[in-house]
């Protein structure tokens, strides 16, 4: 009954979304106030029905209704309740339902916080969002309905959730990432509406910016959470694999980063209008493309849980309609009017343009690398995989270049900066960061150039940023008073930029100084690794709620004092019989100790993988800073006035 109810709500939501697409759009074209004002109540109604549908699915999971095929395939009576809930979005059908639910939330948010915007624009924005919802509803109802019954055959037990996904990180990772992906649809809808309305100005940029910032924040959190999950759950100790699915989330992030910066130029200087529109379209297009790549199975990756060609065809058609349509609109209606504002070679505008260009090049490189195996296959060049060295070769130097330009851009003035003032500004930080970068590796046994460069770049970013804060606050009555006067959006930028610096430190030092050792150990055996002693104390059976495991106890000591007692497991899940490595990690601010059980060897011996990863936490701390920066920037007063 509940399943039918959920299915029915889904169908009603589809029809409401159809109305939401058509009525306000026509209203905006013929300037009919009544038709345009239908948009908001329709969005509310659609959200309620999709929420109802989602609650139904959660209910089915909690009550172990295995007559529903999706539940039977992804849950199990032994599964702990929290995983039953996260199993709702653990596979294809449910994750789509989550996708549209989040899209409805974003639409609702737009309809609620847009009272001061022109009704015509709001109607068009909501119509575009409605159109995207319609596409996803049709996709679900025709190819991936989570409420399908496997009747008349009853199952008394389900298959269980993929053990890889039975993890706290996976409860939060998809919803947060989707908040980001789907959030980009708002900037997209605003752009399409602007193209239809034929006007884009500073006010438009001010409306779009807070939505973009929040979507970007979720995307940042989602990606870093995913990378953190891969780090501790996959048992390989890596935190980024250049897997197609990871690339699919990184590309929209990069374009969105460019968009945020170019929006500033459009807002403050009225320039880059068409470029900004294009970026907004691209950011969302890439998140749709990511969905296509993951769901269709054209690229098989670790993450692709569903591979089905009919689904692929459907998404591809949808992709062509949405992306192709908006790009066509852009081609014909894109603002050709040349911006009147001019800027010199030492201006914020130019540096932001450079930032955009670099970010787009990085995106293009990743896109090419991700699609290359597919292109090669189509052209008959053989079965090819593109390895991480390709991506690193570009990503690393370009990101460092970006880091080098970043603080300069942040202190330059709009239009033109006097050359003399500016050189004075950089001398001190430059010398200091060269010294810090050059001397830092002396603390380690080997002198690694990666460490030198990353420490140099991050000190450069942090020093100039700090100096600029000092400069901005010193001109006022007192420093405290000065600090108070600084705008919150400036604090947002500073926080995000420092976050990038922290990330660079984490990535650089982990890459330069990580130690990995795969060893064969017998209980009682001890090995030494970089001043740490690892004693393999015992290996014992351990019983979890839905698995049994071999659990090792490893005592870590340094100079005879205990550092940590680590208990990595090798699990075997009852229902699926799958084996899983559960690594055990001792995290601290300056290093992680990471132990994973390999496989049992002869006798009591085990293959054990030991890592010492310095500064690895900084990668995720940096990401948190970036996300926090986005929140601060979106709180700026100038955005509030217009809502």
């Amino acid at each position: 009954m509940v399943a039918e109810f959920g299915h029915f709500s889904l169908i009603i939501a589809l029809f409401i979304a159809l109305m939401q697409t058509v009525i306000p759009q026509i209203g905006a074209s013929i300037k009919n106030q009544l038709w345009m004002s239908c948009a908001r109540p329709l969005v509310l109604a659609q959200s309620l029905f999709i929420l109802l549908s989602f609650i139904c699915l959660v209910f089915l999971f909690i009550n172990d209704d295995f007559s529903v095929r999706y539940v039977a395939e992804n849950s199990n009576t032994l599964l702990p309740d929290r995983y039953k809930i996260s199993a709702v979005w653990g596979a294809h059908e449910g994750s789509l339902l989550l996708w549209v639910l989040i899209l409805a939330f974003w639409s609702l948010a737009v309809s609620m916080f847009s009272s001061k915007l022109p009704i015509q624009l709001v109607a068009r924005v909501l119509a575009v969002l409605g159109f995207i919802s319609v596409g996803f509803y049709l996709f679900m109802l025709f190819t991936s309905n989570p409420f399908d019954r496997s009747l008349p055959y009853f199952l008394t037990e389900g298959a269980d959730l993929n053990p890889l996904l039975q993890d706290v990180g996976l409860i939060f990772h998809p919803p947060i990432l989707y908040m980001g992906y789907v959030g980009l649809s708002v900037a997209f809808a605003f752009s399409v509406a602007a193209l239809l309305n034929g006007s884009i100005d500073s006010a438009w940029a001010r409306w779009v910016k807070p939505w973009t910032l929040i979507a970007w924040m979720f995307l940042t959190l989602g990606i870093s959470l995913g990378s953190w999950w891969a780090y501790y759950e996959l048992g390989w100790g890596g935190w980024w694999f250049w897997d197609p699915v990871e690339n699919a989330s990184l590309m929209p992030w990069l374009v969105c980063t460019a968009l945020i910066h170019s929006l500033s130029v459009t807002e403050k200087r009225g320039a880059f209008a068409s470029w900004t529109l294009l970026l907004a379209i691209m950011a969302f297009s890439l998140s749709l493309l990511g969905t296509f790549l993951v769901r269709s199975g054209v690229l098989t990756s670790v993450h692709a849980f569903a591979t089905d060609p009919t689904r692929g065809i459907f998404i591809l058609i949808f992709l062509i309609v949405v992306i192709g349509g908006s790009l066509l609109l852009f081609a014909f209606r894109g603002p050709t009017k040349k911006s009147s504002s001019k800027f010199s070679s030492l201006s914020k505008e130019l540096f932001i343009l450079a930032n955009n260009l670099i970010l787009i090049i990085i995106t293009a490189v990743i896109l090419l690398g991700t699609l290359y195996p597919l292109i090669a296959d189509v052209l008959g060049w053989g079965k090819i995989s593109v390895g991480p060295p390709y991506f690193n070769l570009f990503f690393v130097p370009l990101t460092l270049l970006l880091g080098l330009l970043m603080p300069v851009a942040s202190i330059l003035r709009w239009k033109k900066t006097p050359r003399l003032n500016i050189l004075k500004y950089f001398n001190g930080p430059l010398i200091l960061s060269v010294i810090i970068g050059g001397s830092f590796p002396l603390m380690y046994e080997s002198y690694e150039p990666i460490a030198v460069v990353s420490i140099f770049i991050s000190s450069w970013i942090i020093l100039i940023t700090l100096r600029d804060i000092g400069h901005k606050s010193s001109t006022k009555v007192s420093i405290l008073d000065g600090l108070k006067r600084i705008k919150i959006s400036y604090w947002g930028m500073v926080t995000a930029h420092i976050g990038v610096a922290i990330c660079i430190i984490g990535v650089g030092l982990t890459t330069a100084y990580s130690i990995q050792r795969d060893v064969r150990m017998l209980p009682g055996e001890t090995i030494s690794l970089a001043n740490y002693q690892f004693e393999f104390v015992t290996i014992e059976p351990y019983e979890g709620p839905n698995y049994i495991a071999d659990q090792a106890t490893v005592l870590v000591t340094k100079k005879n004092s205990t550092i940590a007692l680590l208990k990595p497991q090798k699990r075997r899940y009852f229902s699926s019989g799958q084996t899983m490595t559960e690594a055990s990690i001792d995290s601290s601010i300056f290093r992680d100790l990471y132990i994973a059980l390999g496989e049992p060897l002869q006798g009591d011996a085990w293959a054990i993988r030991i890592y010492i990863k310095p500064f690895v936490m900084w990668i995720w701390i940096g990401a948190l800073f970036i996300a926090m920066g986005a929140v601060l920037a979106s709180l700026d007063g100038r955005f509030k006035k217009i809502q």
């Binding site: 055959y153 297009s285 493309l289 692929g312 591809l316 992306i323 066509l328 081609a331 014909f332 699609l371």
Partner: protein, 178 residues
């Protein structure tokens, strides 16, 4: 001239997207998971396998001669087979001849499974090492082969057979075999 270039610039993104779409369409067509049986329209390869529950009895490819049959690859480790099983039973009640191929399985567990659930198979061949399955081009379970009365493989279905699959795609083929 300058104006034309300026206007054309706006078509650049669309052009790039069209290029990417072209590759995506072709790639989708070449679905990497598509597994045609290399033996389509060829006779069932020769084999000699014991029967589940009666290990001393050996069966060869002649079992497929005389009337059309389904060859269903199953195993107790395969969850999807559990979903498929009740429907196979229904098919067998309709008089459809189903021969099982117990694939890379524990024979003891397999016998229990058939005792517990009803047995839809005329008999189940035991292919513990997967040698016959390798000849057939089996990639996993469940898979079902449709074999005509002369022992020629006419169709291969990968994945679960349920009501929908049967009535929409397999039933017409089955009828044509008769």
């Amino acid at each position: 001239m300058v104006q034309l270039v300026n206007k054309l610039k706006f078509f650049l993104p669309l052009t790039i997207f069209t290029g990417i779409t072209f590759f995506l369409i072709v790639a989708l067509d070449r679905d990497p998971n598509y597994m045609p049986s290399t033996l389509l329209d060829r006779p069932v390869p020769a084999f000699s396998l014991s029967v589940l529950g009666n290990e001393s009895e050996f069966i060869d490819e002649k079992i497929f001669m005389g009337e059309p049959s389904l060859l269903n690859v199953w195993a107790t480790w395969c969850f999807s087979c559990r979903i498929e099983h009740p429907f196979l039973h229904q098919l067998s009640l309709q008089g459809i001849r189903i021969i099982g191929l117990n694939y890379k399985d524990n024979t003891f567990k397999a016998k229990n499974w058939l005792d517990e659930k009803k047995d839809p198979y005329i008999l189940s061949l035991v292919d513990q090492k997967g040698i016959f399955a390798m000849d057939l081009g089996v990639f996993g379970a469940p898979e079902t082969y449709m074999i005509d009365s002369r022992g020629i493989i006419r169709h291969k279905h990968v994945g679960i057979i349920d009501d929908l699959v049967w009535s929409e795609s397999l039933m017409p083929i089955w009828k044509s075999l008769k």
